[in-house]
Symmetry: C2
Subunit: 272 residues, 2 copies
């Protein structure tokens, strides 16, 4: 390894604009139970989605530098917005440390999954407007057709715990109607919050559409990369992820419970 201090025992750094990336932490823990995980959630400045590209790129650099203090062996960008608009900023700040973004991982899994070549993508306004999923998918296979839809209410609905609620079903029906009418057979959840609403989304689009969870995709890809480079952690499983946040929002522990299905561990406050 080019960094003398980086060993297989080094942690995996994961960041997101807020708590949504905890779905990625959960998926990485499931795929790689022996790895130490450092998670930074920029809860003071969430959400990134509606902000401008200049601001998002500035925040992406801040987030990366916070994780780099812990000398991670890999950085996972759990934030779709940053993956779409600022992955190059993260890569530059990381030097030789490998960087994996949810977006590309999700795009790869979607391309490998679709049978009819028609892929739906749902995400925040910024992710959808950036057209980054369509770009990533068409870089892998230019014949694939991509149909995108912004679903801005899904994040607040998930955080409010309106998981199995008639209002969520109404809103999901409205958001997903056009995409299903386009005949997609694969639907990418292009926002880390959306796995929380996976069952209502599946119910709305019907069981014939395969849902791609980008959190699971990025976890799979990370496992492959660490295995291939001999950097899997040989130690026994660490108990809990190390959590850093830029603010301690109200309801944080109930949100942690909602996302992780476990009690919240100690959390460290970081200034941004």
């Amino acid at each position: 390894m080019p960094h003398q201090n980086i060993t297989p025992e080094s942690p995996i750094g994961i960041f997101d604009s807020g708590i949504g990336g905890l779905t990625v932490v959960k998926a990485v823990q499931a795929a790689l139970p022996s790895e130490k995980i450092i998670y930074f959630g920029d809860t003071a400045r969430v959400p990134y989605g509606p902000k401008s590209q200049v601001t998002i790129r500035k925040y992406a650099l801040d987030d990366t530098l916070i994780l780099m203090r812990y000398q991670p062996k890999m950085i996972i960008v759990a934030c779709n917005t940053v993956s779409a608009l600022a992955l190059d900023v993260v890569e530059k700040a990381c030097g030789d440390i490998p960087v994996i973004g949810v977006l590309k991982a999700g795009a790869e899994l979607a391309v490998g999954t679709t049978r009819n070549g028609r892929i739906g993508v749902i995400g925040t306004q910024a992710t959808v407007c950036s057209n980054a999923y369509a770009f990533a998918i068409n870089q892998l296979d230019e014949k694939k057709k991509v149909f995108s839809q912004a679903c801005p209410l899904f994040v607040p609905l998930a955080e409010e715990g309106f998981i199995d609620h008639p209002a969520t079903r109404l809103i999901a029906g409205e958001y997903l109607d056009r995409i299903t009418r386009e005949g997609v057979d694969t639907l990418v959840l292009g926002c880390t919050h959306y796995p929380i609403l996976k069952s209502v989304i599946q119910e709305t689009v019907g069981n014939e559409i395969r849902i791609i969870d980008s959190a699971e995709a990025v976890a799979q890809k990370s496992a492959e990369l660490l295995r291939a480079s001999g950097m899997l952690n040989p130690s026994p499983a660490p108990a809990v992820p190390h959590l850093l946040v830029s603010d301690l929002p109200q309801k944080f522990s109930s949100l942690y419970q909602l996302f992780m299905g476990a009690e919240m561990p100690d959390v460290e406050l970081v200034e941004v």
Copy 2:
């Protein structure tokens, strides 16, 4: 006046965590059409509601100092969260300049309006948890009963333009059910976004409940204060408010249109 540069021609400074305070700008324009208005919306760091008190107080100071550069004759805190948790920070930074917060203005109007002494308050999680409306109302009249309810989905529903939507009605029904069952005769909209949803809220609670729009309350109070101190602007009406934002979010111009019912003027970007 204690400040040599402050005259009746000086502007009124108004700030909010984002664009919600535009409902206050609109109400102030209606009440005081001759006044120059400088509005700062901290769109890079919106929303304040779910953040911690330490962070909210830091942001409140930043916002005030940005407006103070324009030597305003008065500061209106359009943000309920700041009015609830950090009004003293604003007052300290303003020195002798009068500061009016939406919260106290709304509380005063509610106390003057209720007949049966039972007042409902709806707002963000932080505003409601701070108990600041109940405190302000009971400082005016300790016999008034206050019933509060956080409505976290109202802001995203308003911003998504789900003004007259069955999902909004379902969610409003759920949020407002307990408050109406408490027999309130007055309901304070304790968040600057909520006037956008006023008709669905009125429909949900019924016409016998009087809705207090804090934006209108603060505009009335500002007019009285300027009149009493001889600081009303004698000049002809200026055309448009001067808009400052910390970020230029997507859909900003359509949101401006939604809040102000007018085309968006030029906007100045300020770093925070």
